[in-house]
C-alpha cells in the first residue's frame, strides 16, 4: 500500500485539548492535554497518576465547550486491580447518564500483550460500539509491562528499546489517525550517586526530580524518554505540621519537557471529588 503523502497547513491542525478537569492544572498545561501526541505522567506509587487518569476518562466525555472531546476512552491497565470503585465514585458527578458505558477497559500483562491489544483497538476506533468516538487512550502503566522478562544485558536492553519504539509508533499513529489524546503513566526509579539524572543524564527542565525526599527519575531510561512528546512528573512529600502534629501529603505536578509548554509546576491535592490544583 502506498501511503498518501500530502502537506498540511499548520493552521488546519486540530487545536483541541482535553481538560484535566481542573482549571488550575489546565492553566499549567495551557488548556489540557493535546490531541495527536503522547503525554507521559511519571511518578512514584501513590503520587496520583491513576487518579488523574480516571479523571481524564470522565473529562473526555464532556462536550468540547467544557474542555472535553465528547468521546469514549480506552483504558489499558497493567497494574492490578483496576480501580473500579474509585472510578464509580468519581463518575457519580459526571453529566452523562451512564458514563461507565463509554469506558473500555483491557488488561495487558506484557509488552507483546499491549501491542496486540493496540492492533485490535484499531477496529474499536474505526467503528466505536457506542455513539461516541473513542478518542482517549490511557496505558497505566508502561513500566509495569517491562518489570520482568528483561535482563540488564546489552542485548535485552536493545530488545526492550525496540519494543518501546514499536509501542510508541503505534500509539502515535492512533493519536494522529483518530485525533486522540494518548496518556501513558510511568513509574520512577531511585537515582543513586551524585551525578545528574539516571546514568548522569539530565532530561528536561529539572536537573533533579524529588519525591518523598528521594531523588528519582522516570523509569525505562533514555530510550523511552525519546518516545514521548510531553513528560509530566507528579511528586509527593509528607509534611508534619508543627501546630497540629498531623502529617499531610503535599503533591506537585511539574512539566519536565513538552514541545508547547514552558517549565512550570503546580501544587495539587487529591480529594473525594478528584484531583485539583491549588492556586497560590
Amino acid at each position: 500500500m502506498v501511503p498518501v503523502i500530502e502537506p498540511l497547513n499548520p493552521l488546519h491542525l486540530p487545536p483541541q485539548k482535553l481538560t484535566l478537569g481542573c482549571p488550575v492544572l489546565d492553566r499549567l498545561l495551557r488548556g489540557g492535554l493535546p490531541v495527536g501526541s503522547v503525554t507521559e505522567i511519571a511518578g512514584e506509587s501513590a503520587a496520583g497518576k491513576t487518579q488523574l487518569c480516571l479523571q481524564l476518562l470522565l473529562s473526555a466525555l464532556l462536550p468540547p465547550s467544557r474542555g472535553g472531546l465528547s468521546a469514549s476512552s480506552l483504558f489499558i491497565h497493567s497494574e492490578f486491580p483496576f480501580p473500579l470503585r474509585r472510578l464509580r465514585s468519581l463518575s457519580s458527578s459526571a453529566s452523562l447518564e451512564n458514563p461507565l458505558d463509554h469506558i473500555f477497559v483491557a488488561a495487558a500483562h506484557s509488552p507483546y500483550d499491549l501491542l496486540s491489544l493496540l492492533a485490535a483497538a484499531d477496529s474499536l476506533f474505526a467503528c466505536p460500539p457506542t455513539h461516541l468516538p473513542v478518542r482517549l487512550i490511557v496505558v497505566d502503566s508502561i513500566a509495569a509491562l517491562f518489570r520482568s522478562d528483561f535482563d540488564n544485558t546489552p542485548s535485552d536492553l536493545k530488545k526492550r528499546s525496540f519494543l518501546f519504539f514499536k509501542i510508541a509508533a503505534k500509539l502515535k499513529e492512533q493519536a494522529r489517525r483518530f485525533g486522540s489524546v494518548v496518556v501513558v503513566t510511568n513509574q520512577v526509579v531511585d537515582v543513586v550517586g551524585s551525578e545528574e539524572g539516571a546514568n548522569g543524564l539530565r532530561l528536561g527542565n529539572y536537573a533533579c526530580l524529588y519525591s518523598s525526599g528521594r531523588r528519582v527519575s522516570p523509569a525505562l531510561g533514555l530510550s523511552w524518554a525519546n518516545c514521548v512528546n510531553t513528560r509530566l512528573f507528579l511528586s509527593r512529600s509528607d509534611e508534619v505540621s508543627n501546630s497540629s502534629g498531623l502529617s499531610r501529603t503535599r503533591r506537585r505536578m511539574q512539566v519536565v519537557f513538552a514541545p508547547h509548554l514552558p517549565e512550570g509546576s503546580s501544587e495539587f491535592a487529591i480529594v473525594r471529588d478528584g484531583v485539583f490544583g491549588i492556586d497560590h
Binding site: 501511503p3 502537506p7 499548520p10 501526541s37 528499546s161 519504539f165 536537573a207 530510550s223 513528560r231
Partner: protein, 292 residues
C-alpha cells in the same frame, strides 16, 4: 568577482557544470544563512544554518531540538529587507511534536523582534514588521505528519517532486530522522540501505534547490567497553549523511550547542536559551538580527 569571467572557459563540454573554487567562494559569501534566533549560536555556525548543506542536530529529550526546528521554519521566512531569505519551510514531523500553537508563539516573537530592530523602516514597505501576521508564517510551513518508516520513505521520494513545484522552499526540517528506524528491523542491512538512500536524496535536494536540510536526531546510550556512553542514534552507518553535525547539551542549568563535525567550521560551543518567544541569546542586550 572580476576573476569569475576568466574562468568561463573552464565550462567546456567535458566539465559542464563545473565551477572554480573562486566561483564557489564568492557564491558562498553571497549566500544568506538562516538565523537560529541566537546570535552566539549563529556565530559558531558561520552566520546561521547554511543552504545547500545537510545539518544534523542531536540531543537528549527536552533539550530543544523541536524548538530549534520550529524556530528555523519561522526564521526562514524573515523578509529579505530584514536580512532573511523570505523562503518557505517543509516540516516533516515523524514524532508528533510539532505544535501549531507553539509555532504561532515563535512567529509572534519573531515579528516583535523584527519590529524592534526595524523601527526606521518605511511603513508602506511590504516587509514592514507591523504588517506581518503570525498566521501567514504558519501557512508558509508545509507540514507533513509521518506515522511509519514506509511513509517517511514515501515522503522523501515525494519531496523531490514537491520541491520542483515549490521553488520558495528554503528549508526542509525532519523531526526526527530517527524515530521510525529505531523499531526492530528484521533486516539491518535493509535499514542501512534505506537510510543511505534517504540521505543521498536529501543531499541532492539541498544542492539542487539551494535549500537547507536540517535533520533532528535522538541520542542513545551505547554500550562501549563495559560502560554506557551517549551517541547519536542510528550508529556509524548514518554518520556520513550530514555535512554538519551539532550536538545540543546541558551544561549545568544552561543549554549549549556544540559543533561536532563540519568541513568548514571550527569546533566550538555556544549557549542558547529557549524563551517564550523562541530560541534566543543568553545575553539579552544583543540585537537578534543585524541590519544588512
Amino acid at each position: 568577482m572580476s576573476r569569475t569571467s576568466k574562468a568561463r572557459n573552464l565550462d567546456g563540454p567535458a566539465l559542464k557544470g563545473a565551477q572554480t573554487a573562486w566561483d564557489m567562494l564568492s557564491e558562498e559569501q553571497m549566500q544568506r544563512h538562516i538565523t537560529t534566533g541566537c546570535e552566539e549560536l549563529d556565530a559558531i555556525l558561520g552566520g546561521g544554518i547554511h543552504c545547500k548543506e545537510v545539518t544534523e542536530i542531536g540531543g537528549v529529550p527536552g533539550i530543544g531540538k523541536t524548538q530549534l526546528g520550529m524556530q528555523l521554519a519561522i526564521n526562514v521566512q524573515i523578509p529579505v529587507d530584514c536580512g532573511g531569505l523570505n523562503g518557505k519551510a517543509v516540516y516533516i514531523d515523524t514524532e508528533g511534536s510539532f505544535m501549531a500553537e507553539r509555532a504561532h508563539q515563535i512567529a509572534e516573537g519573531c515579528i516583535s523582534d523584527l519590529s524592534i530592530n526595524f523601527v526606521h523602516q518605511r511603513k508602506d514597505s511590504i516587509s514592514c514588521p507591523e504588517r506581518m501576521e503570525p498566521n501567514n508564517f504558519l501557512a508558509n510551513i508545509f507540514y507533513f505528519r509521518i506515522c511509519s518508516y514506509t511513509e517517511q520513505i514515501a515522503a522523501i521520494n515525494y519531496l523531490e517532486k514537491f520541491l520542483e513545484e515549490q521553488k520558495d522552499v528554503k528549508i526542509v526540517i525532519i523531526d526526527s530522522i530517527t524515530f521510525h528506524f529505531r523499531q526492530d528491523f528484521d533486516d539491518l542491512a535493509l535499514r542501512t540501505r534505506v537510510l543511505g538512500g534517504m540521505s543521498l536524496k536529501l543531499m541532492k535536494c539541498a544542492k539542487k534547490h539551494s535549500l537547507a536540510v536540517v535533520l533532528l536526531n535522538q541520542v542513545t546510550t551505547k554500550f562501549v567497553e563495559g560502560s554506557f556512553q551517549l551517541s547519536l542514534a542510528l550508529g556509524d552507518s548514518w554518520s556520513h549523511s550530514s555535512t554538519n553535525r551539532i550536538i545540543l547539551y546541558w551544561n549545568g542549568n544552561e543549554r549549549y550547542a556544540y559543533i561536532d563535525k563540519s568541513p568548514s567550521l571550527r569546533s566550538a560551543s555556544a549557549p542558547f536559551l529557549v524563551t517564550s518567544k523562541g530560541i534566543r541569546n543568553v545575553t539579552s542586550h544583543c540585537k537578534r538580527v543585524r541590519m544588512m
